[in-house]
Amino acid sequence: MSRQSNRTTDNKKMSSELFTLTYGALVTQLCKDYENDEEVNKQLDKMGYNIGVRLIEDFLARSTIGRCQDFRETADIIAKVAFKMYLGITPSVTNWSPAGDEFSLILENNPLADFVELPDNHNTLIYSNLLSGVLRGALEMVQMAVDVKFVQDTLRGDNVTEIRMKFIKRIEENLPAGEE
């Protein structure tokens, strides 16, 4: 008798409309509260960080992925497994730096910003900055310090959304035993 390891939540389908509207309401409320695009970007990053530190455990519990051996493998897992699992899209991994410590994720379409148009007075707002925080928080929990930036954004007139990720260092404090 084999036990199904699917949890009931896997089979519940929810329309993405509520998700898009919720995220939109979140960003506009932040804009009203802080009135400063830079500040809103920072807050979105902070919120994303708090999501990321929790999301990583869910990701590890649901997928059977083990520790990645290098940054290239990390990039592949993020693009092909994580983005697929949580946003239903598969960005491509390109623009590797010569040292192999920086790469870009190119998103053709961004589910967070499906119906969004940025007005002129918000042209420094990074609408999807939550994602930067999520990636940063999640990787920090598996002992990788990374810097995540949006370098292109379809909402600001570019053709694609490009997220640049740079590996800073391995976090040596509080390493789980056996990971040296």
């Binding site: 008798m1 036990r3 949890r7 939540t9 530190v53 649901r62 789980p176 035993a177 056996g178």
Partner: protein
């Protein structure tokens, strides 16, 4: 097949969750008349039997309750010192329950931190590079299984040595943790888990594992 307990230890080695699923079977309650023929003494904030083993009451057993009321450490529930109480003939006949002392929560905290350190020794002693820490600890009465996530959280399950399917159970507990503890926005990371839904789902998972364990190696 029984699963005895579940412990969850955070990255720093602190115990954040503990659940006991067993009922100790070795408890004896007897009525005594003055003078008490057992020799009792203080040990570690408890009163234990040091001499006079008889009728199922063994050396090392602690006084658990007097006249049906649970004791608090070295004193009765009313605050009187137990040894003084039992020296006074006026208090007899008295009914005392003896049994193996249950671990207090402080003791469990200390043991969990100790296990956290020992876990690291497992990987340090290894002849090969990149070994994991202690995954299993076996005694004649129970087997301790430990699963450490990539983020440093340890899930520890103490079960009957013949119980199968513990690896699947550990993964399931990880899923339950990532659902009911982490998705609760009011739960702070690394803090003790006080989430009702986590408790309920964990108990459910233990019941499923106990039943499934009889059918050989689980999935």
């Amino acid at each position: 097949m029984v699963i005895f307990s579940v412990y969850v230890v955070n990255k720093a080695g602190g115990l954040i969750y503990q659940y006991d699923n067993y009922v100790p079977r070795t408890e004896v309650e007897k009525t005594f008349s003055y003078p008490l023929d057992l020799v009792l003494k203080h040990h570690d904030e408890k009163v234990i039997v040091s001499f006079g083993q008889r009728d199922g009451i063994k050396v090392g057993h602690a006084v658990l309750s007097i006249n049906g009321v649970d004791v608090v450490g070295k004193s009765t529930a009313e605050g009187k010192d137990i040894l003084e109480y039992l020296k006074d003939p006026v208090n007899y006949p008295v009914s005392i329950r003896f049994g193996r002392a249950r671990l207090s929560s402080n003791e469990k905290l200390m043991l969990a931190s100790m296990f956290h350190s020992l876990f690291a020794i497992g990987s340090q002693l290894s002849p090969e590079v990149g070994s994991s820490g202690i995954e299993m600890l076996e005694t004649d009465v129970f087997k301790l299984h430990c699963f450490q996530t990539l983020t440093g959280i340890k899930f520890i399950v103490l079960a009957d040595p013949r119980q199968a399917g513990i690896d699947a159970l550990l993964k399931k507990i990880y899923e339950i943790y990532s659902d009911f503890a982490l998705k609760n926005p009011f739960y702070s990371l690394e803090m003790p888990i006080r989430c009702e839904l986590f408790d309920q789902n964990l108990k459910g998972a233990l019941e499923v594992a106990e039943k499934a364990g009889n059918f050989g190696a689980g999935s």
